[in-house]
């Protein structure tokens, strides 16, 4: 869909354009599901498990039922449905056994929130506590308790995943490229180390919320803060065995998602409450604590990297082993495992690779998609490891990277050939290096070191990511011309803040030759009225919906020109148009306005032709394949967005305290559609990445109880945490099948930040860090080579703060 239009001829693409949604949001008029009430609506509350693993001995709801105003109570035993995105492993409410702290056990719908809360408090549950399995590596041991003893009975997506009944393995993604065993024999150095990070919460400012009305004749309407209305509908219908036309999903403004609202969440629970309450609408808003534990998080990862290097510094082989902690349910974690597996080597040319990526069930809140889809987690290890290897072989880290980058002619881990249009990782790395003054300190920085006594370190890391999506991922955009010649676009990609709707507006205006003010992209997606989109995930929205928008604009113009040709008694080839009218090129005064054509053209005598003008654009991913289950070979990537993060930090070598001075984010976005939005994604994702890197993470006690499910104990970055200086730079190597050459950048902004911080701290202090988040005390411990002390945080066996494991240098 690339059109080679010189930038100076583009009117809207690449130009400063206001967001279409900001005025509604700035005035408080944008309505989110959390703002909505319906006539007769009931309010719901959920009773959650205080245990990581326990048998439910009994649930007594009698006292709750007696409370005036309680209208419906549901418990797991009365529900015979199972949910699952890829592995169908989850009940709507726990049945027989609770599998994680915070799991939903019972729910109450009542006249008011207060009564619902009283109802939940009056439910008496007797548990028999069972020994939980908390660490993924322990869960792999032969005598580990099974989180899902019935795994063999579950259905799953067989084309992509491999659950292993009788174990805690929900999926094992394998990839084999070349021959690592043979390649290691030819290596001068082989270096191995293990890297870890804990689970993290997405923290959308609007917690998950849904209103469901289970109406007469099983007509179900769902208003949800979901990212993906059609996938939500599909999963809902599959779980309840319903026809898709019976279920309507409406998604208005959404207060952030970051992957956490991608699949199906609380909607089925709210639906069964509504059904039990006789079809009254029921609203459930997750509390902030429930957002951390009832709803899913990002998976914990243990990543083992073994790298073999040839004498000249080329990576010859890598063995990459990932242990993804899925928590109690597989949800997206199995696909995070798969997507991370096939890009596990980063933007580097690795001729021989062996990847084994396991998704492992444990008794913890479950993992799902989170901005970056595994890449934030594994790039922490991978890019720390690149520095480790560089140091071990005596090469400058950036030089080592540049020697090994993917480029035209090289192949990815899955065997995909890289071309000149795939993007330019080398340029990203060099640009980031230049922007932070890599390899040297400026005179200002030297003066700062002198003044503060702190040591400044700098690092540059690379990154890449392709959308993780099925080969048949598709979308539609419909353009409707209004009576005045303006157009309205309908699509089911959800704009929950990324700004894609504004980009679609610019693309439609560009292709139509209209002003942006003539193009509306309608907020509120409705599966009954809007066309299909697979999901709003994976940074694929701009590429797929952008292409569909171009096709819809072309279709609309073709239809308009056809009617104009008749109206003007001209040949279609002789027609041209501006933003108001279609005219005959050689007789411009012979013209008909879009307003005259919009709902059908009427000749002066009343005869009419045409009818309301509509343009339809459908786009489906081209040329992708499933991956071979044994070798991981195939074509999974519609596009790769490359990028680099450059980071400057100053560190107190005595205390381990540090300040992030500067972060530069560079992405090869193909083509900038909206400069301010690229910058917003870049900086927003960068700070979210710094949250992951510096302070966020789930902490459990030894019984698997989550200790920090709140903003008091799990901070996210505030304005105070913004680095002193931030910058975002776009490289534009056009994507041949991207709209105007563009590719996505929503997730990439977060990917390299943590490793860049770890590397810069090491550069400044020699602190060996292999676990993130990196808190000041972790830097101090690494510098002192001290093991964690047993305080309330570190007594968590599997939370933050592990000291660096030993580097394994194999004899060669």
């Amino acid at each position: 869909m690339l059109e080679a239009i010189p930038a100076d001829q583009l009117k809207h693409v690449g130009k400063k354009t206001d967001r279409i949604d900001s005025k509604a949001k700035l005035t408080g008029q944008a309505t989110y599901v959390s703002d909505m009430t319906l006539p007769g609506m009931l309010y719901a509350r959920v009773l959650t498990s205080p245990h990581a693993r326990a048998r439910i001995v009994s649930i007594d709801t009698a006292k709750a039922e007696a409370i005036p105003g309680v209208r419906a109570i549901v418990v797991g035993d009365e529900l015979d449905y199972r949910l699952g995105l890829y592995v169908v492993d989850k009940a709507i409410l726990a049945k027989g056994e609770v599998r994680h702290y915070g799991e939903a056990v019972a729910a109450v719908a009542a006249d008011t929130l207060e009564i619902a809360e009283q109802g939940v408090e009056a439910i008496e549950v007797v548990y028999e506590e069972l020994e939980p399995v908390l660490h993924p590596l322990k869960a792999l041991e032969a005598d580990a308790p099974l989180v899902h003893p019935d795994l063999s009975d579950y259905s799953y997506m067989e084309a992509a995943f491999t659950p292993q009944p009788g174990t805690n393995v929900a999926n094992h993604t394998k990839l084999r490229k070349g021959d690592t065993a043979k390649a290691f024999e030819e290596c001068e150095w082989i270096i191995e180390r293990r890297y870890t990070n804990p689970s993290v919460q997405h923290v959308p400012m609007e917690t998950h919320v849904a209103i469901v009305q289970w109406g007469h004749d099983d007509e179900v309407t769902i208003w949800s803060s979901a990212q993906s209305p059609f996938t939500l509908r599909n999963l809902f219908c599959t779980a309840f065995g319903m026809s898709h036309q019976k279920v309507r999903v409406i998604v208005p403004y959404v207060g952030g998602g970051f992957g956490g609202k991608a699949g199906i969440g609380i909607e089925p629970l709210v639906a069964v409450l509504s059904r039990k309450a006789g079809g009254r609408a029921v609203k459930l808003t997750a509390t902030r604590e429930q957002e951390f534990s009832l709803l899913p998080c990002r998976s914990q990862l243990t990543y083992n990297i073994k790298t073999g290097i040839r004498e000249d510094g080329r990576i010859l082989a890598q063995e990459l082993t990932m242990y993804w902690d899925s928590g109690a349910y597989a949800d997206y974690a199995v696909n995070v495992t798969r997507a991370s597996g096939y890009s596990a080597g980063g933007p580097y040319d690795i001729p021989n690779a062996k990847v084994d990526a396991y998704t492992i069930y444990t008794n913890k809140p479950f993992g799902t998609a989170y901005r970056g889809f595994g890449h934030v987690e594994f790039f922490w290890g991978l890019e720390r490891h690149m520095d480790l290897v560089a140091e071990a072989i005596g090469m400058e880290p950036l030089e080592f990277r540049l020697k090994n980058t993917l480029g035209p002619g090289s192949t990815t881990l899955t065997g995909e050939k890289i071309t000149a249009n795939t993007g330019n990782i080398t340029k990203c790395l060099q640009t980031a290096a230049e922007a932070i003054g890599y390899r040297k300190l400026t005179s200002k920085e030297k003066a700062r070191e002198k003044e503060t006594g702190l040591k400044i370190g700098k690092a540059v890391v690379g990154l890449h990511k392709a959308p993780a999506m099925p080969p048949f991922t598709a979308t539609t955009v419909i353009l409707k011309m209004n009576e005045d010649g303006s157009v309205t676009a309908n699509l089911s990609l959800v704009d929950y803040g990324q700004g894609t709707y504004t980009a679609v507006q610019q693309i439609v205006a560009e292709r139509l030759g209209f002003d942006v003010s003539q193009v509306k992209v309608a907020f509120e997606s409705d599966t009954d009225r809007d066309p299909y989109d697979w999901q709003t995930v994976a940074s694929k929205g701009l590429l797929l919906s952008g292409n569909a928008a171009i096709l819809a604009a072309e279709d609309l113009l073709k239809n308009a020109h056809e009617v104009a040709a008749q109206a003007l008694r001209a040949q279609a080839v002789d027609l041209a148009h501006d933003n108001e009218k279609i005219f005959v090129r050689h007789h411009p005064e012979s013209a008909v306005t879009f307003a005259q054509l919009a709902i059908g053209y009427a000749f002066p005598n009343g005869n009419s032709i045409g009818g309301p003008l509509v343009g339809v654009g459908r786009y489906i991913a081209q040329g992708l394949t499933h991956l071979d289950k044994e070798t991981g070979q195939g074509l999974p990537a519609i596009d790769w967005t490359y990028g680099a993060h450059g980071l400057t930090v100053e560190v107190d070598r005595e205390t381990g305290e540090y300040n992030v001075l500067k972060v530069v984010s560079v992405f090869d976005v193909g083509k900038v559609i909206n400069p301010d939005e690229v910058r917003g994604q870049a900086i927003g994702g960068m700070l979210q990445g710094l949250g992951t890197a510096t302070c966020e993470g789930y902490i459990y006690n030894e019984q698997g109880r989550l200790l920090n499910p709140s903003f008091t104990d799990n901070k996210i970055p505030t304005a105070r945490d913004l680095p002193l200086e931030v910058d975002a730079i776009a490289i534009e190597t056009p994507q041949i099948d991207g709209p105007y050459g563009a590719r996505g950048v929503g997730e990439h902004s977060m990917i390299g930040v943590a490793a860049a911080l770890g590397n810069a701290i090491q550069h400044a202090t020699k602190a060996e860090l292999t676990h993130m988040p990196i808190r000041y005390e972790d830097v101090w411990r690494a510098l002192q080579k001290r093991e964690p002390v047993d305080n309330w945080i570190t007594k968590s066996p599997y939370g933050s703060c592990r000291s660096a494991p030993e580097i394994i240098k194999h004899d060669c």
Partner: protein
């Protein structure tokens, strides 16, 4: 229940409220002023920030009964006669809005800041909005918007 009377965005309201009702829920659920958002209900995130008697407060930490006789300003009153305030316009122009859920609270905190300090430094702006979480923007474009509005010198109007 007790009766309270207060002024919100220049309009007077008299209602019966439960003693334990928070001001946030009073605004949102009893009056339908849903522009003010709830992010945590515990005074941590700032999404529910409004201006009460001339000072920014987390409305989730104030009881409606406590606000009896108060003068409140919420996001619904920020634009006058269909025109965005200079601060709102600056947010719009600087792309300081993404998902928009923190936006009303952020605008109210910034309004309060600019009234107290019409020409804040970057650091003073950071101080002023430090209590307002935003998960989307990384704050940079918000800070730039507030700086731009302060330079226009009419943001507190």
């Amino acid at each position: 229940m007790r009766e309270i009377t207060l002024t919100i965005n220049g309009e007077s309201y008299t209602r019966e409220v439960h003693e334990h009702r928070t001001l946030l829920h009073f605004l949102r659920d009893d009056l339908g002023l849903t522009g003010t958002k709830e992010g945590c209900g515990a005074g941590e995130c700032g999404a529910c920030t409004i201006i009460m008697n001339g000072a920014a407060v987390n409305s989730c930490l104030v009881l409606a009964a406590e606000a009896n006789g108060s003068v409140l300003e919420t996001i619904e009153g920020a634009a006058k006669d269909g025109t965005l305030s200079a601060l709102q316009s600056a947010f719009h122009e600087h792309h300081a809005v993404q998902c928009g859920f923190c936006t009303p609270g952020m605008v109210m905190s910034a309004t309060d800041l600019l009234r107290r300090n019409p020409n804040p430094s970057r650091d003073e702006i950071i101080d002023g909005i430090e209590g307002n979480f935003c998960r989307c923007t990384g704050y940079e474009q918000i800070i730039e918007a507030i700086l731009a509005a302060s330079k226009e010198g009419k943001s507190h109007a």
